[in-house]
Symmetry: C2
Subunit: 371 residues, 2 copies
């Protein structure tokens, strides 16, 4: 019997090292973050496409017939996914949705990314479906999960076999950057590698802090570019150093995953966090709020760096296995007083998972099923 | 008529960029600091050598005949000054003065440096003399001024002609590192270039802050070495970047000195200060007190970095020509509340000067003459 709905979850991602440097051809190290985003995909016969994003109060429905004319611009060639973003389709979608050129707020981006991928994946015949996404993270990521549908142009019937899963992971790697291209104006090559969760890393306790300082990734990325152009002899070696930080970290994590963790390993991870945070400041993507994060946590013996674009946004703080809960509580208390949101979570958890309903946290399942 | 005394002053030095990197073969940029150290050298017939260092309450006298036996260890070869520090003589001097191996406090270092250079310079027949040094800086520098005496083995008779001055400047460059070798365990090659004041730089307003956090240059230098050994692929590019910072700054200063200063120049100088401060943090020679300096001054739109060994010690803050006195006052007030001492002064002033008594500030002259 054909199952009419499926549940998928994907880990958040945290860039441990190499954010920004990756844009300039350097290695970046991104690992899964155990704050997951859940998706329910429901095959319907309504003739409508519905997207429900309760995290950002976005609930939209289109008639499939409205969307069909937008397909005329697609080449339909299968290998087109390896090419650059189809800017013509993005333009058409902005016109169709009424989202102004230059609008890069989360809602606009989510809607554009959803429609872009929906149209690209189902390029022959558009199916009726209802999608609901709920994230434990304060951001949503709708593009990844949609990538599960390109083969048979219909929702998957049962949780996949492992060979089917492999094929799907490849598809994620092929498609996932699309969602990001639209919002950052550049493709980092980081996000898909994380989403598929292929990297072997030990589980690392961390604190994720949201400084709540808003920033534009696009502006920050272009600021780094400007700095490289202004001071090439100064910034180029810094990117090389960041590259070496990522590689040293990767090697250390591999050792930890293979041989078990030791205080020596953690000491190296802490050194690398400190070094890279300084490098990110050199690139101009630091922020006083991130300095506060580093200062407050260091006063408790903990090491922090920004993660992602910087200029505010989120930071991660490494916790050692032996770090006392009272130390974490004290640090969190001070960070909250500084106006930040904090989550104690971990890095290195599972990648994309197919779920049966009973393997989903009850409150998450309730939310997904209520739309 | 032979003048029995002479007055000399030397500027302080401030390392603008390249501290630590210079130890590893990179360029450093040091400029004169307009807080001067004055020396009175008095030729006597007492058969004694007296050193008066009122800044550090050090007043010592030796019979020349006591010192004479120490000369037996000197080679007497003129080119010996190009060789490394004579560790055997340092050992003998520690025994003679009773300064324990490993004592590196300012008084011990000043006494050792004075005697080392006195014996090395007057290597045939030791003259009777009385030296008084008074500094506007909270440190003393006795070694530089003594270097004025090696030619005729007697105090200079009159303020020198310019050709004589040139010869003396060369001698300073030859001898000055000696005083530093003893205390840092390494020769940076920076200090003599500054002392001679040959570099053409514009006058730059600065704030010099003493965090009053004590540190050992030797320990800091060796910490950087350890870090390079532990993370060669990460730290080597950082040293390259610091090298480029020094060179970019040197070029910018030359442009400012030649073409006049502009806001664009100051903006570059500020960028370089910020970048290098982050690099120094990467090398592990930062300190929370220096972070405070940077944070407090930046809140007033001013950019700071450590100067010298780091790990506490002193920092400099660049002031623009148009920086309002009220802004400086507000910053100084907050820095004093953080426990720092501050001096508003300038970089790029004159190098070593010979003085007639009436070209010396009256209160300084009184101090020099009172010993």
């Amino acid at each position: 019997m054909q199952v009419k709905q499926c549940f998928v979850s994907a880990p958040g991602k945290s860039i441990l090292h190499g954010e920004h440097a990756v844009v300039h051809g350097k290695v970046a190290l991104a690992v899964s973050l155990n704050l997951r985003t859940y998706l329910r995909l429901l095959s319907t016969t309504s003739g409508e496409v519905t997207i429900n994003l309760p995290n950002i109060d976005t609930f939209l429905t289109w008639d499939v017939t409205e969307l069909q004319p937008l397909l005329s611009d697609l080449t339909g060639e299968d290998d087109s996914v390896d090419n650059d973003l189809d800017l013509n389709l993005v333009k058409k979608l902005r016109e169709f949705t009424g989202i102004a050129e230059g609008s890069t707020d989360t809602r606009s981006m989510a809607v554009l990314a959803f429609l872009y991928i929906y149209l690209s994946v189902f390029s022959d015949l558009l199916p009726s479906l209802s999608v609901c996404v709920w994230s434990e993270l304060p951001t949503v990521c709708v593009s990844l999960q949609l990538c599960f549908q390109p083969e048979n142009k219909s929702p998957p019937l049962t949780p996949s076999s492992s060979s089917k899963n492999t094929a799907r992971l490849e598809l994620i790697n092929k498609w996932f950057p699309r969602g990001e291209d639209i919002s950052t104006g550049t493709r980092s090559g980081v996000d898909n590698a994380v989403g598929s969760g292929v990297r072997l890393v030990p589980t690392l306790r961390i604190l994720l802090s949201n400084t709540k300082v808003p920033r534009s990734t696009k502006v920050l990325v272009s600021g780094v570019k400007d700095k490289i152009n202004k001071y090439p002899s100064i910034i180029t070696p810094v990117l090389e150093s960041v590259d070496a930080v990522s590689k040293t970290c990767e090697q250390t994590l591999a050792e930890m995953a293979t041989d078990g963790t030791s205080a020596k390993h953690y000491s190296i991870l802490e050194d690398l966090i400190d070094i890279n945070q300084h490098h990110l400041n050199v690139m101009g993507v630091g922020h006083p709020s991130l300095d506060t994060l580093c200062r407050v946590t260091l006063a408790h013996g903990l090491h922090s760096k920004l993660t992602g674009a910087g200029g505010g946004g989120c930071g991660i703080t490494l916790l050692r296995p032996e770090t006392e809960p009272s130390v974490v509580r004290a640090a969190v208390q001070e960070l909250k007083e500084a106006g930040f949101d904090c989550w104690e979570t971990s890095l290195g958890g599972p990648g994309v998972l197919m779920h049966s309903p009973n393997s989903i946290p009850q409150n998450t399942l309730s939310i997904l099923n209520s739309y």
